[in-house]
Symmetry: C2
């Protein structure tokens, strides 16, 4: 049976990737091949290929002979993730301002609107997902695919980081940052856009407690190091 590989593959990949973005899959979650097989109705060949792709995205960790788990980025990883995001997202602002068309503005506003709706309706998954989408869309507007691709990965990794290190009691603050950035970019004001983006990213990183690492009410996170040690024993 030669399936329409391209499509089916992409669909399954997106399903898992989305689950990570929406934090329905959290760090440490085990991804058994046979389970994924029955869920998606394909053979292990396909599932294995998708797990490999996700592992190259640093969203899944492939432990030889021990199966795949959702990745658990260390504090240092998270610092590098955000350092990279600052570099990329501030760096592309010039190009975003330069190339931004009216269609681009519409697309950006559409995302921000849906994001705000999600926030107001208490749809946390949707809000997280759309917030990430916004940042990736901005890279698309800047017309730079390599950077867009990396940002897509970094946004997903940020979602994992947030699940691990988010300061308690934060939860869905309504945020004017995104819409302000859209306005500045569509006005072609690169300096202002850069400044807004810089502060926005700082804010995001500040919401995490990278020193006192763990999320209190999730045993998997609390004992992540123990699990890691035992897993490698």
């Amino acid at each position: 049976m030669n399936r329409q590989s391209e499509t089916s593959d992409e669909w399954i990949y997106d399903q898992v990737f989305s689950a990570v973005l929406e934090q329905r899959l959290i760090p440490g979650a085990k991804l058994k091949e046979s389970e994924l097989c029955s869920v998606f109705g394909v053979s292990r060949t396909i599932i294995r290929r998708i797990l490999l792709r996700l592992s190259l995205d640093k969203v899944v960790e492939l432990r030889p002979n021990k199966g795949a788990v959702i990745a658990t980025p260390a504090a240092e990883d998270v610092r590098q993730i955000f350092a990279a995001r600052r570099l990329l997202e501030i760096g592309i602002i010039d190009d975003a301002c330069e190339h931004c068309t009216s269609e681009d503005v519409a697309a950006l506003k559409e995302i921000v609107n849906r994001e705000n709706t999600a926030i107001q309706t208490g749809n946390r998954s949707g809000a997280i997902r759309l917030a990430g989408e916004f940042h990736v869309e901005l890279a698309r507007v800047a017309r730079n695919r390599p950077i867009q691709e990396l940002l897509r990965q970094l946004v997903a990794q940020s979602s994992l980081a947030l699940a691990l290190y988010e300061a308690p009691g934060h939860l869905l603050c309504v945020d004017e940052d995104h819409i302000n950035i859209v306005e500045a970019v569509s006005a072609g004001d690169a300096a202002k856009s850069r400044d807004l983006m810089a502060r926005h990213l700082e804010k995001a990183e500040a919401e995490m407690k990278l020193e006192a690492p763990v999320d209190s009410n999730d045993l998997k996170s609390v004992f992540a190091d123990v699990i890691e040690a035992r897993a490698n024993a």
Copy 2:
């Protein structure tokens, strides 16, 4: 037979990746699975996994039902590749200056020395490869893995771009740029380093003729668009 997958996989991947870096594999070259199987003595399962990884690096193009070929980046791709490189490599200079240890300086100088030796002995493959290695090493010195990884891919893609668009008669000019950058970085002079890097990258991109695209004496490149059109027919 459960092979020591990790190692064997990595080795084969590196072999192919290196061949691209050294331009022993040029854009359009066909990678038949069965041939790779016999060359490396593994089954198609392994080869297929490696081809997938290389395709995610944008070094190989996977054409459904038509096999894998070494990628042929379009002129617009190359512009984005170099735009991304400028952004990344200039952007990491601050961190490189900040984190650069004496071991790092030694490692950088070692690469530059080997590069110059390669140039002087007419070892074109080695020179291209080491030039790329230098840029990736600088990202390592900056202590940012995500960016280092992307740069590794972009350097390989640059090698393909060079094979396609290099201005004729260029060939291995001895270059003081790299050693100057090492000096500036190890002295902690970020401003100077940035300036040197910016001009170095501009020079590299200027060596290519992205408007009059093709490499004259390679039919595969000359008729790349025709091939592409027919392949998709």
